[in-house]
Structure formats: C-alpha cells, structure tokens
C-alpha cells in the first residue's frame, strides 16, 4: 500500500447509455470527440492514476470540459465510475454501502462549490452548521464550532444574514466555513474561487493558504487558472479531454512540459516567481565553489535575481536553512532557464 491519502487507480468514467461498451472503444484509443460523434457517449475520464499525499494541496487543472469536476466528484463518490478504484486511507470508497458512504462523507470529507451552493433559506450560521446539523450533533457544540470558523474566515457579525445579502466573496467564505466546520481531513474544492473577482479571489487564496499552514488538510483544488494553480498547488495534475497529461510539482511542469497542451498552458508564466533555487540546482560535483554566491534553496528566483544581476557571480551555492551546502547552480544555466 502506498502512503498516499487518496489513491486513484485506473479510473474511467463514460457518460451515456452503455458506458461499459464505450469504455472498450476508449481503451482501443478512441478519443473524446470521436466517441461522441460515432458512439454517442461522452468521455469523462480515461485511465486516471493519481496519488495524493497527505497534508498537501493537490491542484487539478484543465480547460472547461476537461473532466475536472467529474474527477473530484469521484473522491466522495458523488459520481459512480465506469471502472477503477478510489481508496482513501486504504479504504475502497467504491465498495462502501449507502450507510458507510454517508458516514465517510460526514467524517472525512467536505466540499466547497464553484457557485457556492448555499441554502438561501438558511442564515450564514445555519448554513455553516449544516454539516453538523445533519449529523444530529447537539446545537450547543455545533454552534460553537460554526461560530469559530465564521470568525476565522472573517465573517463575524454576519451570522444572522441571509446569503443573498452577501457579496460573492463573502458567500464563498460561508462555503469555506461550512466545509471547515465539518472537520474532515479532506477538503474538496471545485473551482471554489473561479466565480470571484480577481482581487477577492486573491484574498480567498491567501485565506486558504493561511488556514492550510495551520490545519494541514489534504486539499484537492480544482481550477482552470494556471496562476492560481501555481500559487496554491503543492502538486499539479493537468487534465485534457478526460486524460491526465502530466502530474508533478509546479516547477517540474514549468520546466518540462510533456505535451503541447501543457506547453501552451505554461508558455507565458513568469517562471522566476514559481521556481525555487532547489528546483533547478545541480548536484555538487567538484565545481569551483569559491566565488559562488550562497542562496537559500527555498528562495524563488525572483527573490534573489536582483542580487545576482548586481554582483554578477559565476555561480550560486545553494544551501538549506542550516547553511549546509545542498547544490550548485551556474549563472549561465539560470539565465537560460529564465530566457526559455
């Protein structure tokens, strides 16, 4: 067993009357467009394999219709797969009966939705408490927990307002508070910030990262926006037409895009803001370290580039936080990476 928190294996999802038959065509190599035109089935996901480590943020990125929502809904089984397996903490989600599935959803997962999905007839507090209310947890305890999270997302004072009196950003704060109040290890966020204005979106991203620093949940975060993916993701998986094109840490994806689709995606990114020294360093192997400029391995390039330009060293000596030498980077290589 791998130590992944969430393990997705050979997952297929085909929408239509006869998914099993259609799946055979897909296995033979029929693509999404052809499957729809010739066989009248929609390819949702094809042979997805993904291990999501504990306590990290896994981003799933792709254009609209690429199967992101379909994928994330397999994790809490809002969608039944055509074939494959999803295990969480070693338990096969697809084998759970109705009762087990319900208690799994109640205790382990919580979800945040693109269009918020708040209940308009309930107040902010009632919405936040929804998950606990359903579990019949006593009002006092539930309320205490809900109020704490309402406060954490910055909505104190709005407890008795109805959602429609709040702005989009505030509504999604309620969505986030509702999910956090449920206190599962896994947080599923399907384009949770996509409907928000850029500035508010940035706020929400910051709130999420700040909370994650403290809570260390296993977060699956869907987005169609590369900047958001790079900012939030510890790892990024890229989906196209139901197929996973590439998966890895952000720097890897930027530096080694495996397909044209991914290349197009990453082309215009400011690499200096995403890549850290440790991502591009070489092993120390007899190079001349005498005039090398020491750099912390976790610094982003744009944090130390000014210093490099000013002092023009031939090379950089990459160190960990205890000043141990861990790698080497020539200025030439750095320049090349930034030019590419």
């Amino acid at each position: 067993m791998s130590d992944a928190k969430i393990q997705i294996k050979n997952l297929y999802k085909i929408f239509g009357k006869n998914p099993k038959t259609a799946m055979e065509y897909v296995k033979e190599g029929v693509g999404k467009d052809e499957l729809l035109e010739k066989h009248n089935h929609v390819l949702g996901l094809k042979d997805i394999n993904l291990d999501i480590p504990e306590r990290s943020i896994q981003v799933v990125m792709g254009l609209s219709g690429s199967g992101k929502s379909t994928l994330i809904r397999h994790i809490n089984r809002l969608i039944e797969p055509t074939a494959g397996s999803v295990t969480i903490d070693g338990d096969e989600v697809l084998k759970m009966n109705e009762e087990d599935l319900r208690s799994f959803r109640r205790s382990k997962t919580a979800m945040v939705f693109q269009r918020f999905a708040l209940l308009p007839h309930k107040t902010v507090l009632q919405n936040t408490i929804f998950g606990l209310h359903i579990q019949k947890i006593d009002d006092e305890t539930a309320k205490k927990s809900a109020l704490r999270w309402i406060d954490r997302v910055g909505l104190s004072g709005y407890e008795d307002k109805y959602p429609q009196h709040l702005s989009g950003g505030m509504q999604q704060r309620v969505g986030l508070a509702r999910a956090l109040t449920n206190d599962g290890d896994i947080l599923l966020m399907d384009e949770a910030f996509s409907a928000l204005d850029p500035l508010i979106r940035k706020d929400m991203q910051d709130i999420l990262l700040e909370l994650q620093d403290e809570l260390h949940k296993t977060v699956v975060f869907i987005t169609h926006d590369l900047d958001e993916a790079l900012k939030i993701g510890d790892r990024i998986a890229i989906l196209k037409d139901g197929i996973m094109d590439q998966e890895g840490i952000p720097a890897e994806i930027l530096l080694n895009p495996q397909t044209k689709y991914v290349k197009d995606f990453v082309e215009d990114v400011n690499r200096a803001r995403v890549i850290k020294a440790k991502h591009i360093m070489d092993q120390i192997n007899g190079q001349d370290l005498n005039n090398a400029m020491p750099i912390n391995q976790d610094e982003f390039i744009d944090r130390f580039i000014d210093k490099v330009i000013a002092e023009k060293p031939d090379s950089l000596l990459i160190q960990d936080k205890d000043k141990n030498n861990v790698g080497f980077l020539s200025s030439k290589k750095l320049a090349e990476i930034l030019k590419r």
């Binding site: 809002l78 959803r105 919580a110 308009p120 359903i134 109805y162």
Partner: protein
C-alpha cells in the same frame, strides 16, 4: 340509401336493456358499498361541519380580528388589511355573513385535503420519472374533464350533500398543487442537492432541508391556484347540495332575483380577491429569502 342518411345506431331495445343493466349494477354497487364509503369519509364530514359551526358561531368581531391578523401576517400590507376589512363589512352588512362562513369552511377543508393528498403525490412524482409518467395523464384528464361529468358518478354513489361536493371540489382543485410540487422539487438547483449529498444528508434530510424549502415558493403558487379553483368549484358544487354563497346565486338564476344574484355574486368575487391577494403576497414574501434558485 337509408344507410347513408341515418347513422347505423344501436337498436332502441338493446340500448335500453344495456342502460338498465349498467344502472342496475351501479346501483347494486352503490347499495353494497355506499355505507362503507360514507363511513370512510365520515371524519372529513366531521371536520367540515366543525369548521362550519365554528366559523358561524364565532362572534363577528373576533372573526374579523383573526382574519385581519392573518392578512397582515401573510402580506405585511396595511392596504390589504384595510381592503379585507371593507370587503367583509360589505358582506356582513348585506346579510351574507353565514353563507360566506360556510363557503370559507368548505374551502378550508378542501384545501387541507388537497395539500394532504397533493403534496405527497407531488413529492412521489418528483422522485421517480415512472410515477410522473403515470400521474401526469391522470392530472390531464382531471383538468380537461368538465366537472359535471364526474359529478354524476359521485352523486349516484353518495347522493347529494357535503361530502360528494367536497370530493368534487378536491378533484377539480388538486391538479395544480400536484403539478407545481413536482415541478418545484425538480427545479431545485443541482448544486444544492450535491452539497447536501457531499455533507452526508439522508434522503429524508435532503427532502425536508433542501428540496421542500427551496421548492416552497413554487408549491405555494400551487396552493394559491388550488384555493382559487376550489372557490370556483364550490359555487358549481352548490348544485349538489353544498351550502354557501353558491346556493343563493343558483336560486337567483332559477327565479330571476336580480339584486340577490348580484349581491351574492359580488360576495363571491370579494372572497376570491381577498384569498388570492393574501395568499399571493404571502407567497411573494417567502420568496424573498428562498427563491428556488441558488444565490
């Protein structure tokens, strides 16, 4: 040539025999089961009589206060309260109070019955496409069939009186409530249901905490229509012995009492307008927080 000018109809004698046969067996059926059916509907009759007696026995100022209170609670509109007050002053002053109370009693009873039957039916319909396929044509028939057609078997079976009247009213008034309950639940936003599922709600919790509350404005539009149709039918049902505002209108038509007819006609219109306004503005008020769409 005879064949072309005269339709080849059933011979007179056989036709008479056939009618006699059907009549006899239906009468046998009615004789056999009539008592049981009456007994079955007895609680309903008791409820109706109770409402009627209570309403008639209630001193008019108390009735007025309660009615105006309800009007205000439902609509939060002072204008509507004043309008309702004037309307009932008109009814009382022109000696139509008791008949109005009878009519309100039967509308109340039939709306309660319609909700009791219609709401679960609508919910069942919303949960299964098969049920929807079966129920929809039945509702279509109920709505296209002229009431007089189904009054016949009801009256044959149960005679003339309050209960057959009530049944006729419910048959006539219930379809919009069933349809709109079904529609309202089916229209509930998919994401809201997904959210409920994602948080581990049971089917029951989903129904009561998400589907019904979000469908409520639509369901309420159905109840409003049901009230209005019940009122229309109560007037027709006066022909089979339902007491209330309909009977004097019927008398006036037979005997050409002009003033009486006009006054009672006006009373019917007034009751209709008051019920419609109040229930509609209540419907709009609940819509404020819980439009079926998500926010």
């Amino acid at each position: 040539m005879d064949f072309l000018t005269k339709f080849p109809e059933m011979p007179n004698k056989e036709f008479r025999e056939m009618k006699k046969g059907i009549d006899a067996s239906y009468k046998d059926f009615a004789r056999e089961w009539g008592d049981l059916i009456d007994a079955m509907f007895d609680p309903l009759l008791k409820m109706l009589v109770f409402f009627e007696k209570t309403l008639v026995a209630t001193p008019w100022p108390i009735f007025m206060i309660v009615l105006l209170g309800l009007t205000y609670w439902g609509s939060r509109s002072i204008k509507l309260v004043i309008g309702t007050f004037l309307a009932f002053v008109f009814i009382g002053y022109f000696r139509m109070w008791d008949e109005t109370m009878s009519t309100i009693a039967i509308i109340l009873t039939s709306v309660i019955m319609s909700v009791a039957i219609g709401l679960p039916t609508g919910i069942a319909m919303s949960r299964s496409d098969r049920t929807q396929k079966i129920v929809t044509p039945i509702l279509d028939i109920m709505q296209t069939m002229p009431p007089f057609v189904y009054l016949i078997p009801i009256v044959m079976l149960m005679g003339i009186g309050k209960i057959p009247g009530l049944i006729a009213v419910v048959i006539y008034a219930i379809p919009p409530l069933i349809r709109l309950t079904n529609l309202g639940i089916r229209e509930v936003d998919q994401e809201a249901l997904e959210a409920a599922d994602a948080f581990g709600a049971t089917k029951r919790q989903k129904l009561f905490q998400v589907q019904l509350p979000l469908a409520l404005p639509t369901i309420f539009a159905g109840i409003n229509q049901t009230i209005m149709m019940a009122l229309a039918m109560v007037i027709i049902a006066s022909m089979i012995g339902v007491k209330g505002l309909g009977q004097p209108v019927l008398q006036s038509i037979y005997n050409q009492y002009f003033t009486k007819g006009v006054l009672y006609g006006l009373a019917i219109v007034i009751v209709a307008i008051v019920f419609d306004r109040v229930s509609q503005s209540y419907g709009q008020r609940i819509q404020k927080h819980r439009s079926g769409k998500l926010v």
